[in-house]
Amino acid sequence: MRRAANHSGFSTARVGAMVTRYLYLLRSSWPRVAELVYWPAVQVMTWGFLQTYIRAQANASGVAGTMAVAGGTLVGALLLWDALFRAQLGFSMSFMEEMWSRNISNLLITPLRPIELAAALMTMSLVRLAVGLVPVSLLALWAFSFNLWGLGFVLVAFFVNLVLTSWAIGLAIAGLVLRNGLGAEGLAWSVLFFVMPFACVYYPVATLPSWLQVLAWCLPPTYVFEGLRAAIVAHVFRLDLMLEALAINLGLLAAAGGCFLALLESARKAGSLLQMGE
């Protein structure tokens, strides 16, 4: 008998197999790796130089301190937004590779459980995020004296919440693509940009009209960006915001998991899993 004894329940070996599959893919294609670093680097350079320019103008007009804080908030928000976007792309792009290579049927007839596939995609989201953001955060430190890592535990709290949000969005998109085919692929790139204005990335929630503030506070990233501003401007760690974000994230993740399973079942009923494509 060639098979291992146990095929019931959650298997870390099968999660490991899928992570290995995605790492093989990354290793086989340097443009895929370069792309992970390229866009965050371009973003940080663009906004970092803008911050430098504004600071120089502020120095000349005697408001340097205020503008330095504003600049730090801008670059910090930019890096955290990119962390959210990259983590979601890391999840969604790994999933999309299965669709592009028409391999999803092969996977769904193995003992791989949906939760194991999701766990592998979550792992890859962290791997791709690390590959992209670690060098770029070092670039921000070197070129613009913005030390993201100096935030310490606060940064961990921010990242945990942003990554959980990205996984919830990634799961829902994966379900939609399974159900509707690659016609739904564009969502992987665009969904977060719909969230962006309401998540108050670059401005406080108070900037929004009061009726939109209600919507903003339903989005976990809003709490993170408010927390970032509190940390940089007032040097305060808002644990309350992080815990509220965590609670919403856990609810979102559960809902997204349910949504993924329901859409997978709907794809089985529609018979679309055997001929995945456009």
Binding site: R2, T110, L112, L274
Partner: protein, 248 residues
Amino acid sequence: MPALAIEARQLAKRFGATMAVDAISFSIEAGSVTGLLGGNGAGKTTTIGMIMGLIAPSSGAVRVLGVDMARERYRVLARMNFESPYVDMPHRLTVRQNLRVFGRLYGVADLSRRIDELSEGLALTPFLDRAVGSLSAGQKTRVALAKALINDPEVLLLDEPTASLDPDTADWVRGRLETFRRARGATILLASHNMAEVERLCDRVIMLKQGAVVDDGAPEALIARYGRANLEEVFLDVARGIGPERPA
């Protein structure tokens, strides 16, 4: 009484207004090779999809190795496998990498040895470390077959396994399937348009038309029943609605 590998009971699938599979019932004995024959749209691929649990039946049930595929498929998926030229494997991964990944998903023990065995048996060694996307159609079919055999399945489902292959390569693949069946005693269900292939490989043929089973029997028995020289002529009779010469 021989054990049953696959049992379909009143299995039906409707897609909107189209009845793709219309309440078909059949049983397949363990260790047999059965062909699903039918023209385009006869319901072959849908039937295979339901047997694998990739398509949810509208009604009816299918059991594989005694397990209800609608409710408990994870109990049996490690004991079956599937190959189709219409389902790809990751192109950028090498043959060896693909086999490693699938071997680990199936929980294959002593995976390196199994990959070596398959490489030898299916003549993969010369391109084992090449990307799947760089291979010819015939080589890709051999790799897909290696993937389908990686877990030494008790039930193997094949959807037109030699489609688009040249006659020599197709003959070679059929030979390997015969070898596997003899060595493993596996149950094979084969959907095909190739009558010569079905005559050579199958102990039994289930003929489908518009989602319904229209005939069922050993190839030679069907040929005799329809008074024809070969299975291709039987297929044409069935497709054109011409019944058998003698009652079954």
